[in-house]
């Protein structure tokens, strides 16, 4: 199978701070990758570099064999905060990608409407962000990223601000949507159970410097329903990953208190 994304010996410094160092990851086409790690280990930074929003200090990223050196329409970013434009309707927000690329015809409009349907927002296309709940706004955020039909979806803790129930619903919704297109996904999260539920592989990062500690392959069958979270294998995966990062997480919590 063709390799979609090839990250090799990636490093990033912010002045004296080594945010990332020696990251090597190969991602297959259609793979769902989750990234977990303690606060400050460089998860967001990694995603921003892949998105082309931040230059790497060292190393390379190849997407379909081509070097990444800026934002591009082959990658869609789903932000932690929804970053919706408050003066635009749901539809106009979701169409921002095609609009920036300079083409919003009947075809793009139709496709985006279908995407809004897909994320469960059919009938809300003329609402404004302030009229929507947090979960609905994140659905727009997702539809907006999908509207440019990217090869790779980059998601930075997209459900972190949602309440626990909404988050669970959004997780299974995301998998349902993903099953229909099987895009390559890089998904950052703090929730280990979220990572295990969604991922084919979980990248566990350690901090100071931010580096790849272990890659855990999740061999739970797909399609997955929420009840998979009660299976013993699932709990074992969560346990295993938690033990990998526990020490670092405790250290980061103590750091932040100081």
């Amino acid at each position: 199978m063709a390799r979609k994304l090839d990250i090799s010996s990636l490093g990033k410094r912010f002045g004296a701070l080594e945010a990332l160092c020696g990251i090597d990851v190969e991602v297959e086409r259609g793979e769902f990758i989750c990234v977990v790690g303690p606060s400050g280990c460089g998860k967001t930074t990694l995603l921003r570099i892949v998105a082309g929003l931040e230059p790497a200090t060292s190393g390379t990223i190849l997407l379909d064999g081509k070097r990444v050196d800026g934002p591009g329409r082959n990658r869609g970013f789903v932000f932690q905060n929804d970053s919706l434009l408050p003066w635009r309707t749901v539809l106009a927000n979701a169409l921002i990608g095609p609009e920036v690329a300079g083409r919003v015809g009947a075809k793009e409009r139709q496709r985006t409407l279908e995407l809004l349907n897909l994320v469960g927002l059919g009938g809300f296309e003329h609402y404004y962000p302030r009229q929507l709940s947090g979960g609905m706004r994140q659905r727009v955020n997702l539809a907006r990223a999908l509207a440019i039909d990217p090869d790779v979806l980059l998601m930075d803790e997209p459900f972190a601000a949602l309440d626990a129930q909404t988050r669970e619903i959004m997780q299974s919704e995301l998998l349902r949507i993903w099953e229909q297109g099987r895009k390559t996904v890089l998904f950052v999260t703090h929730q280990i159970d979220e990572a295990v539920f969604l991922a084919d592989r979980v990248l566990v990062l350690a901090r100071r410097p931010g580096r790849l500690q272990e890659t855990v392959r999740i061999k739970l069958p797909r399609p997955r329903q929420l009840d998979v979270k009660r299976k013993p294998e699932f709990v074992d995966y969560v346990d295993h990953i938690w033990r990998l990062i526990e020490h670092d997480v405790r250290a980061s919590v103590i750091d932040e208190r100081q």
């Binding site: 929003l53 934002p71 591009g72 990658r75 932000f79 434009l85 003066w87 921002i96």
Partner: protein, 253 residues
């Protein structure tokens, strides 16, 4: 909901009516001196008389022209300067001390000088209005453009937007509420500018009507001019508030 509206307006309406009645009573029976105060009923009669004779129309036309021309010029230049300052740090640094300094200065004090330069016609008043309206508009435009949320800019960047697209699609709409607020602030300042500049010397205008009425101790006509100015100010500010709910509804509620 209507109950709430009635409650909200009831106190205000009663207080205005009460104030007018008190004013009427005081000027008729307590300070019954036509040289010092005019009763609301007399003021209304004066407005009616001046309107019928066409004199009010003439004054209003002159003052309106001065205000409108000055306000329009100041808005265009102010928004332009604000754009320039937001886009070039050097330009901003060069202009900032002047803008802040002149905004704080009561430039209305320069009105006699402008009349010396430009004569007692409308252009000296236009210049006064410009110097009063320009700075709040510039400052607000620049601040609005500069305070565009980084998150929104980054979002647009992730879709490959260039600088111009970021400006048009994010910076401009997020600055719009600020720009409108600056323009709204300019209304009151512009009106003051027109009247005070006319007091210093003019052939016609509401300020000239006030000054002439004061010279001849015609209190009803003096107050008539003040009332027309007050109504104009209230009406324009209300129109702006309405415009804001139409143009930038996301800043409300």
């Amino acid at each position: 909901m209507w109950g709430a509206v009635r409650r909200n307006y009831l106190a205000g309406t009663l207080s205005v009516i009460g104030g007018l009645v008190l004013w009427e009573v005081v000027s008729r029976y307590l300070i019954a001196n036509a040289l010092l105060l005019a009763a609301p009923s007399e003021i209304l009669r004066a407005i009616y008389r001046l309107t019928l004779s066409g004199e009010m129309g003439r004054h209003v036309a002159v003052s309106s022209a001065e205000f409108a021309i000055g306000y329009a010029i100041a808005s265009v230049i102010g928004i332009g300067l604000g754009f320039g300052m937001a886009n070039s740090p050097t330009f901003r640094q060069a202009l900032q001390p002047w803008i802040s300094g002149l905004y704080a200065t009561p430039t209305i004090a320069l009105a006699p000088l402008f009349i010396l330069w430009l004569g007692i016609g409308i252009w000296s008043k236009v210049l006064v209005v410009i110097t009063l309206v320009l700075f709040p508009v510039t400052i607000n435009t620049e601040a609005g453009l500069r305070h565009t949320s980084d998150r929104l800019i980054e979002m647009l960047r992730s879709f490959g937007a260039n600088r111009r697209q970021i400006f048009v699609k994010v910076s401009l709409p997020s600055a719009l509420p600020f720009i409108l607020a600056g323009l709204k602030l300019g209304i009151g300042r512009g009106l003051i500018g027109v009247v005070v500049a006319e007091l210093f010397g003019a052939r016609a205008g509401l300020g000239e009507l006030i000054s002439a009425s004061a010279d001849s101790f015609n209190m009803p006509e003096l107050f008539a001019a003040v009332v027309v100015l007050a109504v104009a100010g209230i009406a324009m500010t209300a129109a702006f508030t309405w415009l804001e709910t139409k143009l930038v509804p996301w800043t409300k509620d």
